[in-house]
Symmetry: C2
Subunit: 320 residues, 2 copies
């Protein structure tokens, strides 16, 4: 059973963080803006914090975990689709041929996401995600995906919540994919999870209302989609925003445009031993334009290897 943020005891603060500049900056910011005597005091209603998910709250290598879900789902669905064994991109999935799969490019990947995520009701999809997340394991770490969350970030979420910040996830990942498990794992309510979504359709048959998920993107909650998602779902600019890649730059700029004092944080994946080390040249979580702007504007960059005592909840004493 993974340590979840709800199990983080009150008052332990950011105990998995080394006593480094990033931790000090976070604590100084929170103390300043929650102090009613401070000229930078922020009222509780304005204490909005937005966190990216993939690469910021949990790992995202060798590919987004949601994509492993899509692949597992395609395999499970293949019984009902005998034609898939000769048809790309399904064939590549069924044959575990990652090279052939990557050769399908973005269109092929989108096709897999559509086939695995749409054409069913929201209630059905919820059940499928719940089943998967409670049984699936990461291919190389060999652990449930919910154990590959960053303990120091769970502590940060909790620390902000304890200071009356309202914490949201704003992720390029699918909102219907995150909601079934993220509430429990991160301690962030379902309605505070913003993500990419498909168009839906309401149906009322035999007195039973249902919502069908349609194979058409509604919100692509990445890059410029992040401030759009924030405006749409939250309705005010954040005062705290955290991400790990160029896809978060627009969100961090949106926080930076807040007339109130704001905090911009980037997580830099520097730990090839305990996690993965990647940045400017990685296809997943490219971190180049964001890195340059963060340096220029003096935003906080967390160096995972240097700043964090542990990465995952069970890295510490309580190994499984």
């Amino acid at each position: 059973k993974p340590t979840t943020s709800r199990e983080i005891e009150d008052g332990n603060g950011l105990s998995s963080w080394n006593d480094v500049a990033s931790k000090q900056a976070i604590m100084a910011f929170v103390e300043e803006v929650t102090n009613p005597e401070s000229p930078h005091f922020i009222e509780e209603k304005d204490r909005i914090a937005t966190f990216d998910n993939d690469g910021t709250l949990w790992s995202e290598q060798p590919m987004y975990f949601q994509f492993f879900f899509a692949i597992d789902r395609i395999k499970a669905m293949s019984e009902d689709h005998p034609e898939w064994k000769d048809k790309q991109p399904y064939k590549a999935v069924l044959e575990n041929d990652m090279d052939a799969l990557m050769a399908q490019g973005g269109t092929g990947l989108l096709q897999l996401v559509m086939a695995s995520h749409t054409g069913l009701t929201t209630d059905e999809f919820e059940r499928i995600v719940r089943d998967w997340i409670s049984t699936a394991k990461h291919p190389t770490k060999n652990k449930p995906y919910t154990e590959l969350v960053f303990q120091p970030m769970l502590e940060l979420v909790k620390y902000l919540q304890q200071h009356e910040f309202k914490v949201f996830i704003v992720s390029g990942g699918g909102v219907d994919f995150m909601r079934p498990w993220a509430e429990e794992v991160y301690g962030i309510p379902r309605d505070q999870i913003v993500g990419s979504s498909f168009k839906t359709e309401y149906a009322y048959n035999d007195g039973k209302p249902e919502i069908m998920i349609l194979p058409e993107i509604d919100l692509n909650d990445d890059k410029e989609g992040k401030p759009i998602g924030i405006h749409s779902y939250i309705g005010r600019k954040p005062v705290f925003a955290a991400g790990n890649s160029d896809g978060d730059l627009q969100m961090l700029r949106w926080a930076d445009a807040n007339i109130k004092k704001s905090f911009k944080l980037y997580v830099h994946h520097t730990d090839g031993e305990r996690e993965w080390a990647y940045d400017s040249t990685s296809h997943i979580g490219t971190f180049k334009a964001g890195w340059e702007e963060a340096l220029q504007k003096d935003w906080v960059i967390v160096d995972m290897k240097r700043d964090w005592k542990i990465i995952y909840p069970n890295d510490g004493g309580n190994t499984d």
Copy 2:
């Protein structure tokens, strides 16, 4: 200054309600589902309440208040649009010719909404709504619109919040129109306000991020749009839903489809003296199919004249 829900003192419960069946049903439900010993106990995270706005939390006659905003805005913009004085539907607005305006039909009204609500940034629109709501008065009641809110419903919102329900507005009205004032007036946080919306576009010029409101509907949060909005923004079915018209029927059915015990409430406008009396034949707030289903399924129907001691906050002792 209107009484807002935040000024409702703790513990006064539903004091503007007569001791009638609707009040008793509400209190019995809340006591049952918040009692951990009850078989119908509902955990806090599942205590989602959704309220329609127009006709449920404030009045909506002789037309939706947002439409008065649109008309005032068209008039204010007309200086920069000399061509409008000869062009419908603007001409009708500028000449205060309601008959000619109504003759423009839905297309004409939509045109007015588009012209008054889009083509500017979200920050600009926020300022315009704030200015309007703090100065405009209802044409016949001659009071600020924020005083035409239903005191018994403010008390109900507060009562639910005190019992750890998370209360949302789910309105056919515009979300960007409600958010600037509804938080303060109703005591419901901005991010818990769901409404109709326009598509938007992110721009980044001279280092300044902005969101432009485009003249294209994104979510029409009425009828079947309400469960869709609820799924999208909240991510779980409500256990308490309140509305006043056929446009809320799909939302009430969505609550009714919750596997947990749920409460469905309709406000019936029966008080032609203190407010307005209308239902099945009214163009605004048509209440016919919803009425029939409510009777058939034993949902609670609040009779405003019979059930409420006062309608508006200042109906009581503290008149202005």
